[in-house]
């Protein structure tokens, strides 16, 4: 099985998120997608599963099931955990196993593997961020699919859970699966190829509106201005409603 992209481009919200992207990942291989904030890591993963339309270029899967689309043979672990707070841990997992079309799967081994077996009857509302992420990972283990698309899978996991995830990924690769993981740090796999996004030319936004914050900390880039300002808002006040505090925060940082 081989997933390949040729000259892939994605255009969203009036700007090019990425252009001219080519890569190939074969069975048993992993690829780490790296790049600064807003470089298009998540967009690339969403493009592969068809949640974002391909603007230009081609995406092909060789050796897969010809009856199924790439998305139907892939697991997508996004930023959100796709869990319902009012359902228990086991009910959440059982739903996804049923919905993703696996027949008569025992979910217990998957819950054991991510260390949530003792919490199986607890409503998901009581889980911590890391536990929620582990429960989403259990979905990948319970339903076998060859392609794993992971969007910053380690972001809320503690060190031992990160090692466990790395173990799951190695097993998946050994079984002939392939993994694409967007990440800022190491995804814990040796020999993974790396795809760096965001080496493109700086956008007009960064060039025309140089603020000290953009210049120092965040690096030039098409989305860096927006990121810097939302980051400043978040630092000063957690609420999103406009208030005098918010204005103060922006003044302070720029």
């Amino acid at each position: 099985m081989r997933l390949s992209a040729v000259d892939l481009a994605c255009h969203r919200g009036g700007r090019d998120v990425f252009v001219g992207l080519s890569f190939a990942v074969a069975s048993g291989e992993a690829m780490a997608i790296t790049g600064r904030n807003g470089a298009g890591k998540s967009s690339l993963l969403r493009t592969i599963v068809g949640l974002v339309r391909i603007t230009h270029g081609q995406l092909a899967l060789e050796g897969g099931d010809p009856e199924l689309t790439i998305a139907e043979q892939a697991h997508y672990l996004g930023h959100q955990d796709a869990l319902k707070p009012s359902l228990s841990v086991a009910e959440n997992l059982r739903f996804w196993v049923g919905f993703l079309g696996a027949r008569a799967v025992d979910i217990q081994p998957s819950l054991d593997a991510v260390g949530l077996d003792e919490l199986a009857d607890l409503p998901a509302a009581y889980l911590s961020a890391g536990q929620r992420r582990r429960l989403s990972i259990a979905r990948l283990l319970a339903v076998k699919r060859p392609i794993w698309l992971l969007d910053e899978p380690t972001s809320t996991l503690d060190a031992s859970a990160q090692q466990r995830l790395a173990g799951f990924m190695r097993t998946h690769l050994a079984e002939g699966g392939l993994i694409l993981a967007a990440s800022h740090g190491s995804i814990g796999l040796d020999g993974a190829q790396e795809l760096r996004l965001g080496q493109a030319t700086p956008s007009p936004l960064a060039a025309s509106a140089p603020s000290p914050l953009v210049g120092e900390g965040w690096g030039g880039g098409s989305e860096s201005g927006a990121i810097a300002s939302t980051g400043a808002i978040r630092l000063t006040t957690p609420t999103t409603n406009p208030s005098p505090q918010r204005g103060g925060g922006e003044r302070k940082t720029s």
């Binding site: 599963v49 892939a74 996004g78 930023h79 959100q80 796709a82 319902k84 009012s86 009910e91 079309g101």
Partner: protein
């Protein structure tokens, strides 16, 4: 278990759990209907005459109450991404969600309608006719509401927009639902005439609703 059965069971479970919309809808319905006699006063003839209209209005508002969360909740927690990726046709997924919503909010309203009919001085034959019109008409409300729920999926305060979009579309259902119920209570039109139109409206909405809502969702997720 097939994907659609899994989805139906999950949505119904969520609706009857804490924070779900099932109990909220029926309580809202009962409160609205109970308030009317207090506002109108104890004029039994008047209550009997406006009773079917009040019950229908309350059912319409109650079935819209939890509708704005139908797709928005799945959108916010990322479930909708996985649903869109799946093998199951989106139109059927949307229809199944509509069925789950109707079973948990529409059906309880219909079960509560005879009780609230007592407050409005409706006798047994009138209540039977009213329950029948609600049974046939409320699925149309839900399935028309699906379209609004899908359009408002990515909006923060989608509920308000939903009401503005959906309420005008429900006018025909309201007209023929109330007309059929009134025909049974006071005449003179035979019950069958408006009732048949109501059935037709429901059947049309069962077909159009899922397709329109699925198209809106696809457009929205781009």
């Amino acid at each position: 278990m097939s994907p659609l059965a899994a989805l139906l069971i999950r949505d119904m479970r969520i609706a009857v759990r804490v924070g779900g919309g099932a109990l909220m809808g029926v309580l809202f319905f009962l409160v609205v209907v109970t308030l009317v006699p207090f506002a109108v006063g104890p004029d039994l003839a008047l209550l009997k005459r406006i009773g079917p209209a009040i019950l229908w209005l309350a059912a319409l508002l109650a079935s819209l109450l939890a509708l704005d969360r139908l797709f928005a909740a799945d959108h916010e927690d990322g479930s909708l991404d996985l649903i869109l990726m799946s093998h199951a046709p989106l139109e059927l997924v949307v229809a199944v969600k509509g069925v789950a919503h109707w079973l948990t909010t529409g059906l309880p309203l219909i079960l509560a309608a005879p009780l609230s009919g007592l407050f409005l001085n409706l006798d047994a034959p009138a209540e039977a006719a009213l329950v029948l019109t609600l049974l046939v008409g409320t699925p149309a409300l839900t399935f028309i509401g699906l379209i609004g729920a899908a359009i408002a999926v990515a909006l923060r305060r989608g509920g308000l927009l939903l009401a503005v979009i959906v309420l005008p579309l429900t006018v025909p259902v309201l007209i023929f639902g109330v007309a059929a119920a009134n025909a049974a209570v006071v005449g003179p039109v035979p019950f069958g005439t408006p009732f048949t139109v109501l059935c037709a409206l429901t059947l049309a909405s069962l077909v159009v609703g899922p397709f329109a809502a699925a198209a809106a969702l696809r457009q929205e997720m781009e």
